[in-house]
């Protein structure tokens, strides 16, 4: 049944894009910043996987960031890509990007052609695997918390992905 095999293969290839596997095997910016302006962490209670982010802000701009934690290929590569994509962005810019990525993962109507997400586009296939969407989102929820705090807002609590600010 070649058709089925084909459809199948396409599905999985959608999820496990080369970029994702590459970031999983060779994570970028793993570690923690001693001088972080803000550190936050979150975990996915349905699997126990976790992500920590530490962020250095200078002049309302993300000048450095690192991630830690452990988990599946999707959560870890998503975090790794996040660190690459965010470096050098302004706070506002970073929050906008985070919004786009989360929309891409959760919003059926999201149009990939509208924004240039670079490597992060590789995460778009995750949306087709509903139980893995949380994996893709984990790092971004943690980021949202951190950035909200940086912007002086009360960080929002997520029921399904408990996150918390660990220092600032």
């Amino acid at each position: 049944m070649p058709n089925r095999e084909a459809r199948n293969a396409v599905d999985l290839d959608d999820l496990y894009r080369d970029v994702i596997l590459d970031h999983y095997r060779q994570p970028r910016n793993r570690g923690a910043l001693e001088s972080a302006s803000i550190a936050a962490e979150g975990f996915n209670p349905s699997c126990g996987d976790e992500i920590q982010l530490s962020i250095l802000l200078e002049d309302e701009t993300v000048s450095a960031l690192r991630f830690g934690g452990s988990g599946c290929s999707i959560s870890q590569s998503s975090a790794s890509m996040l660190t690459e994509a965010l470096a050098g962005r302004s706070l506002a810019d970073a929050r906008e990007l985070s919004g786009h990525v989360q929309d891409m993962l959760t919003d059926d109507g999201f149009d990939l052609d509208q924004v240039d997400l670079g490597d992060l586009e590789a995460l778009s296939g995750v949306a087709r695997f509903p139980v893995r969407i949380k994996c893709g989102l984990l790092a971004w929820k943690v980021l949202d918390q951190a950035l909200a705090r940086a912007a002086g807002e009360e960080p929002r609590e997520y029921d399904d992905i408990p996150t918390r600010i660990t220092s600032n």
Binding site: L12, L15, Y16, L21, G71, C72, S73
Partner: protein, 413 residues
């Protein structure tokens, strides 16, 4: 394989779901430790009940109520027989194993005093751990844990050392839902009797997979779930020795469990009704009869033999894959039909996703046994678990899927 005794093709034909496809592939259902599939006989029992005799039970004086009551109580008798209980009154229907264990934690627990001790093990399902934690918080009692050997079995010497005159309760999984390990019940009963402690068996995995005779085991209480043994969701069983159950105060108050109700206080119905407050899950209890009939017709020893053969085959095939780590006792003799594993550094959830894309359903995660994951020093495992409708070719499909996972993650397969 000893499946000669089982006509698997005929059995599979009884399970409508087994002919469905998943992502374009035939379903290979290897998540039986979570819940099993249901034969047509059980599904039809539900349809028949709702189409012919549906009524509230016990207090009715009309024909439907009479028929429904008789069918409900007949399941109770059948359940008693199935596990070798001395009397149908010893069977209380709950929602699931979890509720059965909580019922005990609340009722037995009401008698505990600070510094009384409760013995559990390192491999317990959260359902046989958290109720006792909550009780410990309420009562000041202390939890003690039986540790595991390298092979994932109870360390009997260490276990023995835990028992002392303050030990009130020992509650363990008869069969682990992760390691498959079968508990040394006779030893634990011996230790417990010496200090007059109550022995509770979490039989959620054992009752479905091997002959269980509570009388012969010598324990005091046992808990299991219909949904893990071909029955419907929403039915749990609590078995307890009659004099012990009779001695407990009620757990939930309400309709059916009372005798005389005054405004300020009430007296309780006889066993087992004292513990069945409100309208029970009548239809599902009645349909559970069909599941027990099915298992009895096959024979629980035959189920166990089939499980054994599949587990042996799975362990053998998995161990040919480089980087495969299998948890629990090394051979299938002392374990049930559960094989938990990790494959190199591929996360268990990635394994589950890749297997699913080939139609193979396994579970990945902590399997409601987080403390055990810490003992194993892994965040999670994948787990394949089998039942009487599974066959070797499905284990082959599992192995094929694992090879695909390996090659996707760049392992040499």
């Amino acid at each position: 394989m000893t499946t000669a005794a089982l006509d698997i093709a005929a059995i599979r034909a009884d399970f409508p779901i087994l002919s469905r496809e998943v992502r374009g592939r035939p379903l290979v259902y290897l998540d039986n430790a979570a819940t099993t599939q249901k034969p047509r006989q059980v599904i039809e029992a539900l349809t028949h009940y709702y189409s012919n005799t549906n009524a509230n039970i016990h207090r009715g004086l009309h024909t439907l109520a009479e028929e429904a009551t008789a069918a409900y109580e007949a399941t109770r008798s059948k359940t008693a027989e199935f596990i070798g209980a001395a009397h149908p009154q010893e069977i209380v229907f709950t929602r699931n194993t979890t509720e059965s264990l909580n019922l005990l934690a609340y009722t037995l627990g009401a008698r505990l005093r600070p510094d009384d001790e409760i013995i559990l093990s390192a491999l317990e399902h959260h359902s046989n751990l958290v109720p006792w934690q909550l009780l410990a918080q309420r009562s000041g009692a202390k939890l003690r844990f039986i540790e595991l050997t390298e092979d994932g079995e109870f360390d009997l010497d260490q276990a023995r050392s835990l028992f002392n005159p303050r030990t009130r309760i020992v509650s363990v999984a008869h069969m682990s839902n992760v390691l498959g390990a079968i508990a040394p019940v006779a030893d634990l009963v011996e230790f417990a009797r010496a200090v007059d402690a109550t022995v509770i068996l979490d039989a959620a995995q054992s009752a479905p997979h091997m002959p269980v005779d509570v009388g012969a085991l010598g324990v005091d209480f046992a808990a299991f779930s219909a949904h893990k043994m071909l029955g419907p969701t929403g039915v749990g069983v609590l078995w307890g020795k009659r004099e012990l159950l009779a001695d407990l105060d009620p757990f939930l108050g309400g309709g059916e469990m009372i005798s005389v109700v005054n405004r300020e206080e009430s007296t309780w119905a006889a066993l087992p009704h004292k513990f069945e407050a409100g309208t029970p899950n009548i239809a599902d209890v009645i349909a559970f009869s069909a599941a027990l009939d099915y298992l009895s017709a096959v024979g629980m020893q035959t189920v166990r033999d089939h499980d054994y053969a599949l587990t042996a085959y799975a362990m053998e095939r998995l161990s040919t894959i480089e980087g495969m780590e299998i948890y629990g006792p090394p051979g299938p003799e002392r374990r049930g039909a559960v094989v938990a594993f990790n494959y190199a550094d591929i996360h268990a959830h990635d394994i589950a996703t890749i297997l699913d894309s080939g139609g193979v359903a396994v579970r990945a995660g902590h399997h409601c046994a987080q403390p055990l994951m810490r003992v194993l020093q892994v965040p999670a495992t994948a787990r394949a678990s089998f039942y009487l409708y599974n066959r070797e070719s499905e284990i082959d499909a599992l192995v094929d899927g694992l090879r695909e996972a390996g090659s996707r993650f760049g392992l040499s397969v």
